[in-house]
Protein backbone atom coordinates (compact mmCIF):
# COMPACT_ATOMS: atom_id res chain seq x y z
CA UNK A 1 0.00 0.00 0.00
CA UNK A 2 1.20 3.45 -0.86
CA UNK A 3 2.23 5.70 2.01
CA UNK A 4 0.81 9.18 2.48
CA UNK A 5 3.78 11.41 1.65
CA UNK A 6 6.66 11.78 -0.74
CA UNK A 7 9.45 14.29 -1.24
CA UNK A 8 10.80 15.92 -4.40
CA UNK A 9 14.29 17.45 -4.51
CA UNK A 10 15.29 19.63 -7.47
CA UNK A 11 19.03 20.19 -7.37
CA UNK A 12 19.97 23.37 -9.22
CA UNK A 13 23.26 25.19 -9.67
CA UNK A 14 22.38 27.88 -7.10
CA UNK A 15 19.72 26.44 -4.83
CA UNK A 16 18.22 23.06 -4.10
CA UNK A 17 14.43 23.25 -4.13
CA UNK A 18 12.62 20.77 -1.91
CA UNK A 19 8.94 19.89 -1.70
CA UNK A 20 6.87 17.72 0.61
CA UNK A 21 3.86 16.23 -1.19
CA UNK A 22 1.00 13.94 -0.41
CA UNK A 23 1.24 10.95 -2.74
CA UNK A 24 -2.01 12.06 -4.35
CA UNK A 25 -0.20 15.14 -5.62
CA UNK A 26 -0.73 18.09 -3.33
CA UNK A 27 2.22 20.24 -2.29
CA UNK A 28 2.29 20.53 1.52
CA UNK A 29 5.50 22.39 2.14
CA UNK A 30 8.36 23.89 0.18
CA UNK A 31 11.86 24.95 1.24
CA UNK A 32 15.25 25.70 -0.25
CA UNK A 33 18.85 24.84 0.55
CA UNK A 34 21.82 26.72 -0.97
CA UNK A 35 23.82 24.58 -3.41
CA UNK A 36 27.35 24.36 -1.99
CA UNK A 37 29.43 23.58 -5.04
CA UNK A 38 32.81 23.74 -3.33
CA UNK A 39 34.96 20.59 -3.04
CA UNK A 40 33.30 19.01 -6.08
CA UNK A 41 29.86 19.49 -4.59
CA UNK A 42 30.42 16.97 -1.77
CA UNK A 43 28.22 18.87 0.70
CA UNK A 44 25.15 19.07 -1.52
CA UNK A 45 23.48 15.78 -0.61
CA UNK A 46 24.42 15.92 3.12
CA UNK A 47 22.94 19.45 3.26
CA UNK A 48 19.74 18.16 1.64
CA UNK A 49 19.50 15.24 4.06
CA UNK A 50 20.03 17.45 7.09
CA UNK A 51 17.41 19.97 5.97
CA UNK A 52 14.95 17.18 5.25
CA UNK A 53 15.44 15.55 8.66
CA UNK A 54 14.88 18.93 10.28
CA UNK A 55 11.73 19.47 8.20
CA UNK A 56 10.37 16.05 9.16
CA UNK A 57 11.00 16.78 12.85
CA UNK A 58 9.32 20.20 12.60
CA UNK A 59 6.24 18.77 10.92
CA UNK A 60 6.05 15.75 13.22
CA UNK A 61 6.43 13.35 10.33
CA UNK A 62 8.23 10.05 10.66
CA UNK A 63 10.42 8.91 7.78
CA UNK A 64 8.29 5.76 7.66
CA UNK A 65 5.42 7.87 6.37
CA UNK A 66 7.40 8.70 3.19
CA UNK A 67 6.82 6.62 0.09
CA UNK A 68 10.16 7.88 -1.15
CA UNK A 69 12.43 10.78 -2.08
CA UNK A 70 13.07 11.70 -5.70
CA UNK A 71 16.00 13.81 -6.89
CA UNK A 72 16.33 15.72 -10.14
CA UNK A 73 19.86 16.67 -11.23
CA UNK A 74 20.94 19.15 -13.93
CA UNK A 75 22.86 16.74 -16.15
CA UNK A 76 22.86 13.28 -17.68
CA UNK A 77 21.84 10.34 -15.49
CA UNK A 78 22.72 6.85 -16.66
CA UNK A 79 19.96 4.21 -16.70
CA UNK A 80 21.32 2.64 -13.47
CA UNK A 81 21.28 6.01 -11.67
CA UNK A 82 24.97 6.85 -12.02
CA UNK A 83 25.97 10.47 -12.64
CA UNK A 84 29.32 10.47 -14.38
CA UNK A 85 29.81 14.24 -14.30
CA UNK A 86 27.51 17.11 -13.50
CA UNK A 87 29.30 20.32 -14.45
CA UNK A 88 26.70 22.59 -12.82
CA UNK A 89 27.22 20.95 -9.42
CA UNK A 90 30.91 20.12 -9.65
CA UNK A 91 30.04 16.42 -9.32
CA UNK A 92 32.27 13.68 -10.61
CA UNK A 93 31.03 10.13 -10.19
CA UNK A 94 27.99 10.12 -7.92
CA UNK A 95 25.10 7.76 -7.19
CA UNK A 96 22.69 10.43 -5.90
CA UNK A 97 19.79 8.10 -5.03
CA UNK A 98 21.97 5.56 -3.25
CA UNK A 99 23.93 8.25 -1.41
CA UNK A 100 20.83 10.13 -0.26
CA UNK A 101 19.28 6.85 0.88
CA UNK A 102 22.37 6.17 3.05
CA UNK A 103 22.29 9.73 4.41
CA UNK A 104 18.66 9.05 5.44
CA UNK A 105 19.93 5.98 7.32
CA UNK A 106 18.67 3.56 4.67
CA UNK A 107 15.11 4.07 5.81
CA UNK A 108 13.55 5.36 2.60
CA UNK A 109 13.47 4.55 -1.11
CA UNK A 110 15.23 7.17 -3.28
CA UNK A 111 15.25 7.66 -7.05
CA UNK A 112 17.10 10.01 -9.40
CA UNK A 113 16.40 11.52 -12.80
CA UNK A 114 17.59 14.20 -15.17
CA UNK A 115 16.00 17.60 -14.47
CA UNK A 116 14.39 18.06 -17.91
CA UNK A 117 12.84 14.59 -17.79
CA UNK A 118 11.73 15.14 -14.22
CA UNK A 119 10.07 18.48 -15.12
CA UNK A 120 8.09 16.62 -17.80
CA UNK A 121 6.94 14.10 -15.18
CA UNK A 122 5.90 16.99 -12.93
CA UNK A 123 3.81 18.66 -15.64
CA UNK A 124 2.26 15.28 -16.45
CA UNK A 125 1.39 14.65 -12.81
CA UNK A 126 -0.06 17.99 -11.72
CA UNK A 127 0.63 20.55 -14.45
CA UNK A 128 -0.26 21.36 -18.05
CA UNK A 129 -0.12 17.69 -18.98
CA UNK A 130 -2.38 16.36 -16.22
CA UNK A 131 -4.50 13.48 -17.50
CA UNK A 132 -2.12 12.65 -20.38
CA UNK A 133 0.56 10.00 -20.43
CA UNK A 134 2.07 10.61 -23.87
CA UNK A 135 3.62 14.04 -24.01
CA UNK A 136 6.70 16.08 -24.75
CA UNK A 137 7.62 18.87 -22.38
CA UNK A 138 9.73 21.63 -23.93
CA UNK A 139 11.69 24.01 -21.71
CA UNK A 140 12.56 27.27 -23.45
CA UNK A 141 15.12 28.85 -21.15
CA UNK A 142 18.76 29.84 -21.56
CA UNK A 143 18.88 26.63 -23.57
CA UNK A 144 16.16 24.41 -24.98
CA UNK A 145 15.50 21.20 -23.06
CA UNK A 146 12.94 18.48 -23.37
CA UNK A 147 11.37 15.54 -21.59
CA UNK A 148 9.52 12.83 -23.50
CA UNK A 149 6.95 10.61 -21.79
CA UNK A 150 5.41 7.65 -23.58
CA UNK A 151 2.82 5.49 -21.82
CA UNK A 152 3.65 7.28 -18.58
CA UNK A 153 7.35 6.44 -18.71
CA UNK A 154 10.23 8.82 -19.35
CA UNK A 155 12.18 8.08 -22.55
CA UNK A 156 15.66 8.78 -21.20
CA UNK A 157 17.42 7.20 -24.16
CA UNK A 158 20.16 4.59 -24.41
CA UNK A 159 22.88 7.29 -24.30
CA UNK A 160 20.87 9.72 -22.15
CA UNK A 161 19.99 11.86 -25.19
CA UNK A 162 16.22 11.24 -25.04
CA UNK A 163 14.32 14.46 -25.82
CA UNK A 164 17.49 16.52 -26.27
CA UNK A 165 15.45 18.50 -28.76
CA UNK A 166 17.55 21.64 -28.33
CA UNK A 167 20.23 19.92 -30.39
CA UNK A 168 18.13 18.89 -33.36
CA UNK A 169 19.58 20.45 -36.49
CA UNK A 170 16.99 22.74 -38.04
CA UNK A 171 18.87 25.40 -39.97
CA UNK A 172 21.33 24.83 -42.76
CA UNK A 173 24.05 27.40 -43.30
CA UNK A 174 24.34 28.56 -39.67
CA UNK A 175 27.92 29.74 -39.14
CA UNK A 176 27.99 30.09 -35.34
CA UNK A 177 28.75 27.02 -33.27
CA UNK A 178 26.24 25.67 -30.73
CA UNK A 179 27.32 24.60 -27.22
CA UNK A 180 27.11 21.01 -28.46
CA UNK A 181 29.57 21.68 -31.26
CA UNK A 182 26.93 21.55 -33.98
CA UNK A 183 25.63 24.26 -36.29
CA UNK A 184 21.98 25.21 -36.73
CA UNK A 185 20.53 23.56 -33.59
CA UNK A 186 17.03 24.51 -32.39
CA UNK A 187 18.60 25.93 -29.22
CA UNK A 188 20.52 28.47 -31.33
CA UNK A 189 17.29 30.04 -32.50
CA UNK A 190 14.51 29.26 -30.01
CA UNK A 191 16.15 29.61 -26.58
CA UNK A 192 16.11 32.97 -24.77
CA UNK A 193 19.69 33.48 -25.93
CA UNK A 194 18.80 32.36 -29.43
CA UNK A 195 15.85 34.72 -29.71
CA UNK A 196 18.03 37.67 -28.70
CA UNK A 197 20.74 36.65 -31.15
CA UNK A 198 18.20 36.32 -33.94
CA UNK A 199 16.75 39.74 -33.08
CA UNK A 200 20.21 41.31 -33.08
CA UNK A 201 20.90 39.82 -36.51
CA UNK A 202 17.63 41.14 -37.86
CA UNK A 203 18.34 44.61 -36.42
CA UNK A 204 21.82 44.62 -37.90
CA UNK A 205 20.65 43.47 -41.32
CA UNK A 206 18.00 46.17 -41.59
CA UNK A 207 17.77 49.91 -41.15
CA UNK A 208 14.06 49.62 -40.36
CA UNK A 209 12.81 51.40 -37.25
CA UNK A 210 12.19 49.01 -34.36
CA UNK A 211 11.34 49.48 -30.69
CA UNK A 212 13.92 46.77 -30.00
CA UNK A 213 16.71 49.22 -30.84
CA UNK A 214 16.05 51.16 -27.64
CA UNK A 215 17.25 48.27 -25.50
CA UNK A 216 20.70 48.24 -27.09
CA UNK A 217 22.92 45.49 -25.72
CA UNK A 218 20.47 44.85 -22.89
CA UNK A 219 17.78 43.44 -25.19
CA UNK A 220 16.19 40.34 -23.61
CA UNK A 221 13.98 37.61 -25.05
CA UNK A 222 11.13 39.09 -23.04
CA UNK A 223 11.70 42.48 -24.72
CA UNK A 224 11.61 40.82 -28.14
CA UNK A 225 8.35 39.04 -27.26
CA UNK A 226 6.82 42.23 -25.85
CA UNK A 227 7.78 44.20 -28.98
CA UNK A 228 6.40 41.44 -31.21
CA UNK A 229 3.10 41.44 -29.34
CA UNK A 230 2.96 45.22 -29.82
CA UNK A 231 3.31 44.64 -33.57
CA UNK A 232 6.92 45.68 -34.09
CA UNK A 233 7.76 44.26 -37.54
CA UNK A 234 11.33 43.11 -36.89
CA UNK A 235 10.35 41.60 -33.54
CA UNK A 236 7.46 39.75 -35.19
CA UNK A 237 9.84 38.46 -37.86
CA UNK A 238 12.26 37.26 -35.16
CA UNK A 239 9.64 35.47 -33.09
CA UNK A 240 8.06 33.94 -36.19
CA UNK A 241 11.41 32.49 -37.21
CA UNK A 242 12.05 31.06 -33.75
CA UNK A 243 8.57 29.58 -33.39
CA UNK A 244 8.61 28.21 -36.93
CA UNK A 245 11.66 26.13 -36.02
CA UNK A 246 10.03 25.08 -32.77
CA UNK A 247 6.85 24.11 -34.67
CA UNK A 248 8.98 22.14 -37.12
CA UNK A 249 10.66 20.24 -34.29
CA UNK A 250 7.31 19.42 -32.67
CA UNK A 251 6.05 18.18 -36.05
CA UNK A 252 9.17 16.04 -36.29
CA UNK A 253 8.55 14.62 -32.82
CA UNK A 254 5.01 13.78 -33.98
CA UNK A 255 6.45 11.82 -36.93
CA UNK A 256 8.67 9.83 -34.56
CA UNK A 257 6.99 9.41 -31.16
CA UNK A 258 3.52 10.83 -31.96
CA UNK A 259 2.49 12.04 -28.48
CA UNK A 260 -0.92 13.55 -27.78
CA UNK A 261 0.34 16.74 -26.14
CA UNK A 262 3.17 19.26 -26.14
CA UNK A 263 3.69 21.25 -22.93
CA UNK A 264 5.76 24.43 -23.34
CA UNK A 265 7.54 25.82 -20.29
CA UNK A 266 10.66 27.74 -19.28
CA UNK A 267 11.27 31.48 -19.01
CA UNK A 268 10.50 32.27 -22.65
CA UNK A 269 7.07 30.64 -22.33
CA UNK A 270 6.00 33.45 -20.01
CA UNK A 271 5.18 35.28 -23.25
CA UNK A 272 2.13 33.03 -23.09
CA UNK A 273 -0.58 32.12 -25.56
CA UNK A 274 0.93 34.36 -28.25
CA UNK A 275 3.87 31.96 -28.58
CA UNK A 276 1.64 28.89 -28.40
CA UNK A 277 -0.59 30.17 -31.21
CA UNK A 278 2.40 30.84 -33.48
CA UNK A 279 4.01 27.50 -32.71
CA UNK A 280 0.72 25.71 -33.36
CA UNK A 281 0.35 27.44 -36.73
CA UNK A 282 3.73 26.14 -37.91
CA UNK A 283 3.30 22.74 -36.25
CA UNK A 284 0.09 22.20 -38.18
CA UNK A 285 1.70 23.35 -41.42
CA UNK A 286 4.40 20.69 -40.99
CA UNK A 287 2.03 17.81 -40.11
CA UNK A 288 -0.25 17.41 -43.15
CA UNK A 289 -0.14 13.64 -42.52
CA UNK A 290 -2.07 13.97 -39.26
CA UNK A 291 -5.83 14.26 -39.46
CA UNK A 292 -5.87 14.74 -35.75
CA UNK A 293 -3.10 16.93 -34.39
CA UNK A 294 -1.50 16.92 -30.96
CA UNK A 295 -2.41 19.79 -28.64
CA UNK A 296 0.12 22.44 -27.61
CA UNK A 297 -0.35 24.00 -24.17
CA UNK A 298 1.55 26.10 -21.65
CA UNK A 299 3.23 24.52 -18.66
CA UNK A 300 1.58 25.56 -15.39
CA UNK A 301 3.98 24.61 -12.61
CA UNK A 302 6.74 27.13 -13.40
CA UNK A 303 9.82 26.60 -11.23
CA UNK A 304 8.00 23.98 -9.18
CA UNK A 305 7.88 21.45 -12.06
CA UNK A 306 11.16 19.98 -10.82
CA UNK A 307 10.00 19.25 -7.26
CA UNK A 308 6.67 17.86 -8.51
CA UNK A 309 8.42 15.62 -11.01
CA UNK A 310 11.10 14.46 -8.59
CA UNK A 311 8.42 13.46 -6.10
CA UNK A 312 6.52 11.69 -8.90
CA UNK A 313 9.68 9.63 -9.64
CA UNK A 314 9.17 7.53 -6.53
CA UNK A 315 5.53 6.72 -7.27
CA UNK A 316 6.32 4.53 -10.29
CA UNK A 317 8.43 1.71 -8.91
Amino acid sequence: MMKQYCVGIDVGGTTVKCGLFTTDGSLKDKWEVPTRKEEEGRFILPDVAEALKKKLAETNLSIDELEGIGIGVPGPVEPDGYVHTCVNLGWKGHWPAKELCELMDGKVHCAVGNDANVAALGEMWQGGGKGHDNLLMVTLGTGVGGGLILDGHVVAGVHGAGAEIGHIHVRDGEQETCNCGGHGCLEQVASATGIVREAMRNLKASSEASAMREFGDQLSAKDVCDCAKAGDALAVKTIRTSMRYLGLVLATVSMIADPELYVIGGGVSRAGQYLIDLTKQYYEEYTPLLNKKAEIVLATLGNDAGIYGSARLVLTR
Copy 2:
Protein backbone atom coordinates in the same frame (compact mmCIF):
# COMPACT_ATOMS: atom_id res chain seq x y z
CA MET B 1 3.99 -22.04 -20.85
CA MET B 2 4.70 -20.98 -24.38
CA LYS B 3 3.62 -23.33 -27.14
CA GLN B 4 6.01 -24.57 -29.82
CA TYR B 5 4.76 -22.75 -32.93
CA CYS B 6 3.47 -19.42 -34.12
CA VAL B 7 2.36 -18.00 -37.45
CA GLY B 8 3.17 -14.67 -39.13
CA ILE B 9 0.93 -13.25 -41.88
CA ASP B 10 2.16 -10.28 -43.93
CA VAL B 11 -0.76 -8.90 -45.92
CA GLY B 12 0.48 -7.03 -48.96
CA GLY B 13 -1.33 -5.40 -51.87
CA THR B 14 -0.57 -8.27 -54.27
CA THR B 15 0.17 -11.34 -52.17
CA VAL B 16 -0.23 -12.39 -48.57
CA LYS B 17 2.99 -13.91 -47.26
CA CYS B 18 2.62 -16.51 -44.53
CA GLY B 19 5.22 -18.14 -42.31
CA LEU B 20 5.14 -20.94 -39.78
CA PHE B 21 7.75 -20.43 -37.05
CA THR B 22 8.89 -22.15 -33.93
CA THR B 23 8.41 -19.74 -31.03
CA ASP B 24 12.19 -19.66 -30.61
CA GLY B 25 12.43 -17.96 -33.98
CA SER B 26 13.14 -20.45 -36.72
CA LEU B 27 11.13 -20.34 -39.95
CA LYS B 28 9.71 -23.80 -40.65
CA ASP B 29 7.53 -23.20 -43.69
CA LYS B 30 6.55 -20.33 -45.95
CA TRP B 31 3.67 -19.95 -48.40
CA GLU B 32 1.75 -17.28 -50.25
CA VAL B 33 -1.89 -16.50 -50.95
CA PRO B 34 -2.98 -14.01 -53.65
CA THR B 35 -4.53 -10.84 -52.21
CA ARG B 36 -8.09 -10.68 -53.55
CA LYS B 37 -8.91 -7.00 -53.31
CA GLU B 38 -12.34 -7.21 -54.97
CA GLU B 39 -15.48 -6.40 -52.95
CA GLU B 40 -13.56 -4.20 -50.53
CA GLY B 41 -11.09 -6.99 -49.79
CA ARG B 42 -13.67 -9.17 -48.02
CA PHE B 43 -12.06 -12.44 -49.15
CA ILE B 44 -8.57 -11.66 -47.90
CA LEU B 45 -8.86 -12.96 -44.34
CA PRO B 46 -11.08 -15.99 -45.24
CA ASP B 47 -8.49 -16.96 -47.91
CA VAL B 48 -5.72 -16.68 -45.32
CA ALA B 49 -7.65 -18.81 -42.81
CA GLU B 50 -8.40 -21.47 -45.38
CA ALA B 51 -4.78 -21.69 -46.54
CA LEU B 52 -3.58 -21.85 -42.95
CA LYS B 53 -5.98 -24.66 -42.01
CA LYS B 54 -4.80 -26.57 -45.06
CA LYS B 55 -1.16 -26.00 -44.11
CA LEU B 56 -1.78 -27.20 -40.55
CA ALA B 57 -3.46 -30.37 -41.86
CA GLU B 58 -0.60 -31.04 -44.30
CA THR B 59 2.04 -30.66 -41.62
CA ASN B 60 0.06 -32.65 -39.03
CA LEU B 61 -0.07 -29.70 -36.67
CA SER B 62 -3.02 -29.06 -34.40
CA ILE B 63 -4.15 -25.48 -33.90
CA ASP B 64 -3.62 -26.04 -30.17
CA GLU B 65 0.11 -26.17 -30.85
CA LEU B 66 0.07 -22.53 -32.02
CA GLU B 67 0.95 -19.78 -29.55
CA GLY B 68 -0.82 -17.37 -31.88
CA ILE B 69 -1.16 -15.79 -35.30
CA GLY B 70 0.12 -12.28 -36.01
CA ILE B 71 -1.00 -10.14 -38.95
CA GLY B 72 0.79 -7.17 -40.48
CA VAL B 73 -1.31 -4.81 -42.60
CA PRO B 74 -0.15 -2.06 -44.97
CA GLY B 75 -1.83 0.89 -43.29
CA PRO B 76 -2.62 2.50 -39.96
CA VAL B 77 -3.82 0.27 -37.11
CA GLU B 78 -5.48 1.92 -34.12
CA PRO B 79 -4.24 1.01 -30.63
CA ASP B 80 -7.27 -1.28 -30.09
CA GLY B 81 -6.60 -3.17 -33.35
CA TYR B 82 -9.16 -1.40 -35.51
CA VAL B 83 -8.30 -0.66 -39.15
CA HIS B 84 -10.36 2.29 -40.27
CA THR B 85 -9.31 2.17 -43.91
CA CYS B 86 -6.57 0.33 -45.72
CA VAL B 87 -6.40 1.71 -49.25
CA ASN B 88 -3.98 -0.97 -50.48
CA LEU B 89 -6.42 -3.75 -49.57
CA GLY B 90 -9.71 -1.99 -50.23
CA TRP B 91 -10.59 -2.41 -46.54
CA LYS B 92 -13.01 -0.15 -44.76
CA GLY B 93 -13.59 -0.81 -41.08
CA HIS B 94 -11.97 -4.12 -40.12
CA TRP B 95 -10.83 -5.80 -36.92
CA PRO B 96 -8.28 -8.12 -38.56
CA ALA B 97 -7.14 -9.94 -35.41
CA LYS B 98 -10.67 -10.53 -34.13
CA GLU B 99 -11.95 -11.59 -37.54
CA LEU B 100 -9.09 -14.01 -38.17
CA CYS B 101 -9.58 -15.47 -34.71
CA GLU B 102 -13.24 -16.14 -35.52
CA LEU B 103 -12.30 -17.64 -38.89
CA MET B 104 -9.98 -20.00 -36.98
CA ASP B 105 -13.01 -21.00 -34.87
CA GLY B 106 -11.89 -18.95 -31.88
CA LYS B 107 -9.19 -21.47 -31.09
CA VAL B 108 -6.12 -19.27 -31.29
CA HIS B 109 -4.90 -15.85 -30.13
CA CYS B 110 -4.45 -13.33 -32.97
CA ALA B 111 -2.77 -9.91 -33.02
CA VAL B 112 -2.44 -7.18 -35.63
CA GLY B 113 0.09 -4.45 -36.36
CA ASN B 114 1.12 -1.98 -39.03
CA ASP B 115 3.51 -3.50 -41.60
CA ALA B 116 6.39 -1.04 -41.02
CA ASN B 117 6.23 -1.55 -37.25
CA VAL B 118 5.96 -5.29 -37.71
CA ALA B 119 9.02 -5.35 -40.00
CA ALA B 120 10.97 -3.59 -37.25
CA LEU B 121 9.89 -6.28 -34.78
CA GLY B 122 11.02 -8.94 -37.25
CA GLU B 123 14.47 -7.42 -37.66
CA MET B 124 14.72 -7.08 -33.87
CA TRP B 125 13.76 -10.72 -33.36
CA GLN B 126 15.87 -12.52 -35.96
CA GLY B 127 17.40 -9.89 -38.28
CA GLY B 128 19.89 -7.04 -38.28
CA GLY B 129 18.66 -5.88 -34.87
CA LYS B 130 18.90 -9.22 -33.07
CA GLY B 131 20.00 -8.72 -29.48
CA HIS B 132 18.84 -5.09 -29.34
CA ASP B 133 15.58 -3.79 -27.97
CA ASN B 134 15.92 -0.08 -28.74
CA LEU B 135 16.08 0.45 -32.47
CA LEU B 136 14.64 2.23 -35.46
CA MET B 137 14.07 0.25 -38.62
CA VAL B 138 14.04 2.34 -41.80
CA THR B 139 12.50 0.94 -44.98
CA LEU B 140 13.78 2.68 -48.12
CA GLY B 141 11.40 1.51 -50.82
CA THR B 142 8.93 3.28 -53.10
CA GLY B 143 8.30 5.37 -49.99
CA VAL B 144 10.24 5.71 -46.75
CA GLY B 145 8.76 3.88 -43.76
CA GLY B 146 9.91 3.32 -40.24
CA GLY B 147 9.33 1.25 -37.13
CA LEU B 148 10.51 2.42 -33.73
CA ILE B 149 11.07 -0.01 -30.88
CA LEU B 150 11.86 1.18 -27.37
CA ASP B 151 12.45 -1.33 -24.58
CA GLY B 152 11.21 -4.06 -26.89
CA HIS B 153 7.85 -2.40 -27.55
CA VAL B 154 6.68 -0.81 -30.79
CA VAL B 155 6.03 2.94 -30.53
CA ALA B 156 2.90 3.07 -32.69
CA GLY B 157 1.96 6.58 -31.61
CA VAL B 158 -1.25 8.06 -30.27
CA HIS B 159 -2.44 8.88 -33.82
CA GLY B 160 -0.67 5.95 -35.50
CA ALA B 161 2.11 8.25 -36.77
CA GLY B 162 4.92 6.64 -34.75
CA ALA B 163 8.09 6.37 -36.85
CA GLU B 164 6.48 7.93 -39.92
CA ILE B 165 9.95 9.24 -40.67
CA GLY B 166 9.29 9.50 -44.40
CA HIS B 167 7.19 12.56 -43.65
CA ILE B 168 9.68 14.50 -41.57
CA HIS B 169 10.34 17.84 -43.22
CA VAL B 170 14.01 18.08 -44.12
CA ARG B 171 14.28 20.42 -47.08
CA ASP B 172 13.11 24.01 -47.24
CA GLY B 173 12.10 25.43 -50.58
CA GLU B 174 10.89 22.17 -52.15
CA GLN B 175 8.20 23.02 -54.69
CA GLU B 176 6.80 19.57 -55.46
CA THR B 177 4.13 18.18 -53.16
CA CYS B 178 4.67 14.95 -51.22
CA ASN B 179 1.98 12.23 -51.06
CA CYS B 180 1.18 13.50 -47.57
CA GLY B 181 0.52 17.01 -48.84
CA GLY B 182 3.72 18.43 -47.39
CA HIS B 183 6.79 19.86 -49.10
CA GLY B 184 10.35 18.74 -48.50
CA CYS B 185 9.67 15.38 -46.76
CA LEU B 186 12.47 12.83 -46.37
CA GLU B 187 10.50 10.48 -48.63
CA GLN B 188 10.76 13.00 -51.47
CA VAL B 189 14.52 12.69 -51.52
CA ALA B 190 15.54 9.34 -49.98
CA SER B 191 12.97 6.84 -51.32
CA ALA B 192 13.64 4.95 -54.57
CA THR B 193 11.34 7.42 -56.33
CA GLY B 194 13.00 10.33 -54.56
CA ILE B 195 16.51 9.25 -55.53
CA VAL B 196 15.49 9.02 -59.19
CA ARG B 197 13.80 12.41 -59.06
CA GLU B 198 16.87 13.97 -57.45
CA ALA B 199 19.11 12.38 -60.10
CA MET B 200 16.87 13.67 -62.91
CA ARG B 201 17.05 17.17 -61.44
CA ASN B 202 20.83 16.99 -61.21
CA LEU B 203 21.06 15.76 -64.80
CA LYS B 204 18.78 18.50 -66.03
CA ALA B 205 20.61 21.24 -64.15
CA SER B 206 24.01 20.25 -65.54
CA SER B 207 25.53 19.50 -68.90
CA GLU B 208 28.19 17.33 -67.28
CA ALA B 209 28.70 13.86 -68.75
CA SER B 210 27.11 11.11 -66.66
CA ALA B 211 26.58 7.40 -67.16
CA MET B 212 23.08 7.97 -65.77
CA ARG B 213 22.09 9.71 -69.00
CA GLU B 214 22.15 6.38 -70.87
CA PHE B 215 19.16 5.10 -68.92
CA GLY B 216 16.92 7.95 -70.09
CA ASP B 217 13.44 7.76 -68.58
CA GLN B 218 14.09 4.24 -67.35
CA LEU B 219 16.65 5.36 -64.75
CA SER B 220 16.11 3.47 -61.47
CA ALA B 221 17.38 4.07 -57.94
CA LYS B 222 19.55 0.99 -58.39
CA ASP B 223 21.11 2.54 -61.52
CA VAL B 224 21.86 5.72 -59.61
CA CYS B 225 23.50 3.73 -56.80
CA ASP B 226 25.50 1.63 -59.28
CA CYS B 227 26.72 4.74 -61.11
CA ALA B 228 27.62 6.40 -57.80
CA LYS B 229 29.63 3.36 -56.71
CA ALA B 230 31.45 3.52 -60.05
CA GLY B 231 32.40 7.11 -59.26
CA ASP B 232 30.02 8.98 -61.59
CA ALA B 233 30.12 12.54 -60.23
CA LEU B 234 26.44 13.47 -60.66
CA ALA B 235 25.32 10.10 -59.25
CA VAL B 236 27.63 10.58 -56.25
CA LYS B 237 26.19 14.04 -55.72
CA THR B 238 22.65 12.62 -55.86
CA ILE B 239 23.26 9.79 -53.42
CA ARG B 240 25.18 12.08 -51.07
CA THR B 241 22.23 14.46 -50.94
CA SER B 242 19.77 11.64 -50.26
CA MET B 243 21.91 10.01 -47.59
CA ARG B 244 22.71 13.36 -45.98
CA TYR B 245 19.00 13.88 -45.36
CA LEU B 246 18.64 10.32 -44.11
CA GLY B 247 21.63 10.84 -41.79
CA LEU B 248 20.03 14.06 -40.55
CA VAL B 249 16.77 12.27 -39.77
CA LEU B 250 18.58 9.49 -37.89
CA ALA B 251 20.45 12.15 -35.91
CA THR B 252 17.11 13.76 -35.13
CA VAL B 253 15.69 10.44 -33.97
CA SER B 254 18.73 10.12 -31.69
CA MET B 255 17.92 13.53 -30.14
CA ILE B 256 14.34 12.38 -29.45
CA ALA B 257 14.23 8.63 -28.77
CA ASP B 258 17.98 7.87 -28.62
CA PRO B 259 17.97 4.21 -29.71
CA GLU B 260 21.12 2.09 -29.82
CA LEU B 261 20.71 0.91 -33.40
CA TYR B 262 19.39 1.86 -36.83
CA VAL B 263 18.50 -0.98 -39.20
CA ILE B 264 18.22 0.02 -42.87
CA GLY B 265 16.10 -2.14 -45.17
CA GLY B 266 13.89 -1.93 -48.25
CA GLY B 267 14.79 -2.17 -51.94
CA VAL B 268 17.17 0.80 -51.95
CA SER B 269 19.22 -0.77 -49.14
CA ARG B 270 20.34 -3.50 -51.56
CA ALA B 271 23.03 -0.97 -52.56
CA GLY B 272 24.57 -2.21 -49.33
CA GLN B 273 27.42 -0.98 -47.17
CA TYR B 274 28.13 1.94 -49.52
CA LEU B 275 24.86 3.58 -48.44
CA ILE B 276 25.41 2.71 -44.78
CA ASP B 277 28.86 4.30 -44.77
CA LEU B 278 27.56 7.53 -46.31
CA THR B 279 24.58 7.69 -43.97
CA LYS B 280 26.85 7.07 -40.98
CA GLN B 281 29.16 9.88 -42.05
CA TYR B 282 26.30 12.42 -42.06
CA TYR B 283 24.63 10.93 -38.97
CA GLU B 284 27.84 11.44 -37.01
CA GLU B 285 28.23 14.98 -38.32
CA TYR B 286 24.75 15.84 -37.00
CA THR B 287 25.21 14.28 -33.55
CA PRO B 288 28.12 16.18 -31.95
CA LEU B 289 26.27 15.87 -28.63
CA LEU B 290 26.71 12.09 -28.52
CA ASN B 291 30.03 10.75 -27.28
CA LYS B 292 28.81 7.30 -28.10
CA LYS B 293 26.86 7.04 -31.36
CA ALA B 294 24.20 4.54 -32.34
CA GLU B 295 25.19 1.88 -34.85
CA ILE B 296 23.77 1.78 -38.37
CA VAL B 297 23.44 -1.65 -39.98
CA LEU B 298 21.70 -3.31 -42.91
CA ALA B 299 18.51 -5.28 -42.47
CA THR B 300 19.00 -8.99 -43.12
CA LEU B 301 15.53 -10.50 -43.50
CA GLY B 302 14.57 -8.83 -46.79
CA ASN B 303 10.96 -9.53 -47.75
CA ASP B 304 10.60 -11.96 -44.85
CA ALA B 305 10.83 -9.23 -42.20
CA GLY B 306 7.03 -8.94 -42.27
CA ILE B 307 6.30 -12.59 -41.53
CA TYR B 308 8.97 -12.73 -38.83
CA GLY B 309 7.62 -9.58 -37.19
CA SER B 310 3.99 -10.63 -37.44
CA ALA B 311 4.83 -13.92 -35.76
CA ARG B 312 6.78 -12.01 -33.09
CA LEU B 313 3.65 -9.93 -32.35
CA VAL B 314 1.99 -12.84 -30.57
CA LEU B 315 4.99 -13.58 -28.33
CA THR B 316 4.64 -10.37 -26.31
CA ARG B 317 1.23 -10.62 -24.69
